[in-house]
Symmetry: C2
Subunit: 437 residues, 2 copies
């Protein structure tokens, strides 16, 4: 008995209720509830007070880790190296190619120091320095991805960060050798088998064994996200990641099977992942839907893909290219795949997207692993105001100001006038001391 064909939600951008439907489709609030907040607050407080002992206890409790001493939670460089060397040759070589390409791309992001000197000898500029020490959170369980290790550790390395402390939870003490191998290849300085809010707290405040870091990056579950938000200010953090999403725009001329698989590759991440396809070619949307139905039963993660497409997927028919671009900017997708003839021509109009995959041959999956750009990207519309993880996240700037005696005199007059206007008279007098005439 053939089952009913699987139908992905179909929307028309020109219909009256489209905007409401779209808002509903995109809605995502990853906020933690009061209960999670309370637990995280307690975990952080305990780690701050009791250090290693608290971290060990939470790790035993939450991860069922068999360690009886904190020292058993650190993975030595020897273990990392052994894990790397134990990988099948083909896989190790693929990791090496990926690491080399990711490093090469990120080297273009290094921001140099700069300065300029004015006529009177006054110098202005900006000195760029790497962070001293960063923490990289690598999720465990089904989302234990060696590619994420490369994508988080390598930009820090390229930026010149000396100490890179990686944490990854090890449920029942088990760690993924690919993850450890990637940590070795990328050059993590120290690796701890820690996860959850306790790992974030240990990195932010330091314990006897875990050195306090200056910034924590990497995705995690709701406890990790809540803890990161909590320690923000004490340390820097990257964005709070939502579920992963892709927006594919097609001109109707790409093989529908390719597009179906591209949508699957997003949907297979988890049930909350979002895959949306846009086209002005309604017949082609039908064909992609047929491909979805044809290919779905052949997928290892069929159930996850189906749930994801059902809950959060959509095929959207637009009137034309302009309407497609309007939608892109409204959605501000994490991944944008432009499966069209001349993607270059689209670029100047695309204001918001984490990463743009241009042309029929550029599968999003290639970007996930080895094209070079980072796969840590702004989700849930945050591409409106944030960027892919990059070297710039591991560098910071100091303004440089040197006033020549002449410059101090000229500028001192302006500064003292404005300081008077703000009733900050010590400011005014401090500037005026340096005025010559």
């Amino acid at each position: 008995m053939p089952s009913t064909p699987f139908a992905v939600r179909r929307l028309k951008a020109s219909s009256a209720d489209f905007s409401t439907h779209l808002d509903h489709l995109l809605a995502w609030e990853g906020v933690s509830n009061a209960e999670v907040q309370k637990q995280v607050d307690k975990i952080i407080a305990d780690v701050r007070q009791q250090g290693d002992a608290a971290v060990l206890a939470f790790t035993q409790q939450f991860d069922q880790h068999p360690a009886t001493e904190f020292s058993q939670l650190e993975i030595s460089q020897q273990q990392l190296k052994a894990a790397f060397e134990s990988l099948p040759t083909k896989r190790r070589e693929a990791l090496e190619v990926a690491a080399k390409r990711v490093t090469g791309y990120h080297e273009h992001q290094i921001q140099p120091s700069w300065n300029y000197t004015e006529e009177d000898g006054t110098l202005l500029g900006q000195q760029v320095m790497p962070l001293d020490r960063v923490g990289v959170y690598v999720p465990g369980g089904k989302a234990a991805y060696p590619s994420s290790v490369l994508m988080n550790v390598l930009p820090a390395k390229v930026a010149g960060v000396k100490d890179i402390i990686m944490v990854a939870p090890a449920p029942r003490g088990e760690l993924n050798p690919l993850v450890l191998g990637a940590a070795y290849l990328a050059g993590a300085t120290r690796v701890f088998a820690l996860g959850g809010a306790q790992a974030v707290a240990a990195l932010a405040y330091g314990t006897e064994s875990v050195p306090a870091v200056d910034k924590i990056v990497g995705p995690g579950n709701i406890y990790v996200a809540t803890a990161k938000r909590e320690v923000f200010g004490k340390v820097g953090i990257d964005m709070i990641a939502g579920p992963s999403e892709i927006l594919v725009v097609g001109d109707g001329k790409t093989d529908p099977d390719w597009i179906a698989m591209d949508l699957f590759s997003q949907a297979e991440h988890d049930e909350d992942a979002q895959s949306i396809l846009i086209s002005w070619d309604a017949d082609w949307l039908d064909k992609v839907e047929q491909s979805i139905n044809k290919l779905l039963p052949t997928m290892e993660r069929e159930a996850i893909i189906k749930t994801s497409l059902q809950n959060r997927g959509a095929l959207i028919q637009v009137e034309n290219q302009e309407q497609a671009i309007e939608l892109i900017n409204r959605i501000a997708p994490e991944h944008l795949e432009l499966s069209v003839e001349d993607p270059d021509a689209w670029l100047p109009n695309i204001r918001h997207a984490g990463a743009i995959f241009m042309g029929r041959y550029t599968a999003e999956a290639i970007g996930d692993y080895c094209a070079g750009p980072n796969h840590v990207l702004p989700t849930s519309g945050t591409a409106r105001f944030s960027s892919p993880l990059g070297v710039y996240d591991f560098q910071k700037r100091s303004s440089l100001i040197y006033c020549s005696p002449e410059g101090a005199s000229t500028l001192g007059k302006v500064a003292s006038e404005l300081a008077e206007g703000e009733s900050l008279t010590a400011h005014a007098r401090s500037a005026r001391y340096r005025i010559k005439d």
Copy 2:
């Protein structure tokens, strides 16, 4: 009857308990308590539900604003222009000089898009775009500073942000004409007389009258800081600012009066502000202390300065230049004044500082107003991982990936191998579709 001379806390870096003293001196936790959190949560929820009506009601309640309609809370461009034109000529001209210099400096921070093409035709790069719309929070009351308007609005302008929505609370309906004039000069798109958590909520979620923005910048009190932390993720935010601080390092050859006044210029901001002086010349530290005692009674803000110096100030005697540099990096000051002979030589060793004021003539006050660099700087040691406010805060990046058919084939092999390793088979198949042979 002469009063007892005022003694600023004196520490010796070589003493056994110095580290503990320093930690205590630097300790600052600006965390909001549960009560503030609860109030802010309610304010945000009300603004999200009731829009303008809630914002107006809170503004009447907290600011005693006499407005009876929301429209009365918007300041028109005509009003801004009139405020600008009403300023005394000398002050208006000083503002203009400052705006021009700040703009000129920030233009050096514009990040261009870039890309490169590999041998097989694959193109990788990064497209840089401005944010669409940002919100600038300008505090009211005694901290209503026109210079802050320039420092927050101009970098957004230079970045190419089209809509800049400024909010500033107007207690009892009163607004500072210098602040309005600065908003006109800097080019704020719209200005509302709003403050507190209600202003932050309105900017983050939008109301009938206030357009929702993509990022909120600018300092504020504990309610504003708590609200910003809360809406982080829905919109971008800049750092949560702590009290302002300066670290002056002197080689003993700068006029002690100048240094005393530089310390005062920080201390006069508020009672929590922090002024620390470091030198290896103990006699000179004595002389600066004498200058402090001599000049303090002549200061308009004597009481604030005295409290600030008493609670959070210190004169620290170090052994030598190396120890001074160690201390600088440990403190990671917001403002660092190098009142020494050859400040250039110090730079390569200074890893953490918001802004570096080099040489005897470079008063920190000049940087506050008109040197060019931004005066919004990382406080409370956050210079370890963050930067001055800049054009880069108002730009964001999209990764660009275009695979040629050849590139897709080569990279597809690597990607599919790694995807298999992560059991993401849709990823693998999506990449493999593009392999030629």
